[in-house]
Symmetry: C2
């Protein structure tokens, strides 16, 4: 959560309050819901959390890192139960991800921190480690299961496998984000059906749906 250069055990003095940690993150999520990203201020978060502003700055260097940590835990909810087919698995995880994006705290925060990360390498790494990786393992699981079912050909070149996982991840996550935030249209069952059909069968399959 907060960066430490020395291990926790070898330190002396008064320890950091874990209650304050959680209160700050919770206050940050509440402030995101009420105010959105741009109107959220460090002073307001501190007041909501019942701590001093200096306590925030001892833990997080700026608003970006604080918000990443506050939102990251929400991605722990994502899971991928085995629903018996590749298309069903895709639909399920897409709907889960869309529901997460619909929450006001993630909706306003995710794009903002990604935008900031284009000019802030440490922030980019923080996002990758605490958010992107949590989503990516779902792709790995889904592909592996589909191959075990025989829905996809078995692996040949490991490098190609990695590249394909990356591709699927960017396509699925990117499509959902773009639909929800840029097009601002609902990610409903009908849309998810078209998306999973496209992924499994290609454009011809989707156009033929009509």
């Amino acid at each position: 959560m907060c960066s430490r250069t020395t291990p926790r055990s070898t330190r002396t003095g008064r320890p950091r309050s874990t209650e304050a940690d959680e209160a700050i993150l919770e206050a940050t999520r509440a402030a995101l819901v009420e105010l959105g990203w741009s109107k959220l201020t460090m002073g307001d978060v501190a007041t909501r959390a019942g701590v001093a502003k200096t306590t925030l700055y001892r833990r997080w260097a700026n608003k970006n890192e604080l918000v990443v940590d506050a939102v990251a835990v929400l991605f722990d909810e994502l899971e991928l139960p085995d629903l018996g087919s590749l298309q069903a698995d895709i639909s399920h995880v897409v709907l889960q991800f869309a529901a997460l994006l619909e929450r006001p705290e993630t909706k306003t925060a995710l794009m903002a921190v990604v935008a900031e990360s284009t000019r802030d390498a440490p922030l980019r790494e923080r996002i990758r480690a605490s958010i992107v990786e949590r989503q990516k393992r779902l792709v790995l699981d889904g592909r592996r299961r589909a191959q075990e079912r025989g829905e996809l050909p078995a692996d040949r070149d490991p490098a190609v496998v990695d590249a394909t996982d990356d591709l699927i991840f960017d396509v699925v996550a990117g499509a959902v984000v773009h639909r929800a935030l840029v097009s601002a249209e609902p990610v409903d069952a009908a849309w998810v059906n078209r998306l999973s059909s496209l992924l499994v069968g290609g454009l011809g399959a989707v156009v033929a749906l009509g």
Copy 2:
């Protein structure tokens, strides 16, 4: 560009300086390159453009709307020449879009204004009209050509056609944005080949590439 309630021709008094308009937009792009979204200030843009800060506020209500207009014109560069096949058309437009996203002024600005638009309906409409629509017509052209070539089935239900165009747009644009900004990996020819294969032939076709 700037909202007017009354038509331009029926107005009296000193007209707005079009030189100032262009100088401000150009200064905004330059400031985006140097400073990025979060450190760009209205006062700095005014100084760069050689105009007074009040002149900016007569034209744009806030930073968001200014930046949308400053970046929107860059999307005019996108075009879709007929390259003879659906896959080639897709690859070409994806590479164009990726090159646009690589420019520092768009990279830092696009995600930021989309993030703001989640809590600002007028801004969302402005983005839709001046950026999203310019990209979307490329999808319409590409699908129409593919159908004329016989690469895709002919239309049946017009509603399905619209839905499919929307889907393709979100998938392609979303995938490129996610790859470039979230995964922060290059959108190179190899990746584009995998993406277009996925779109045309589905997951089976991509995995079989290896």
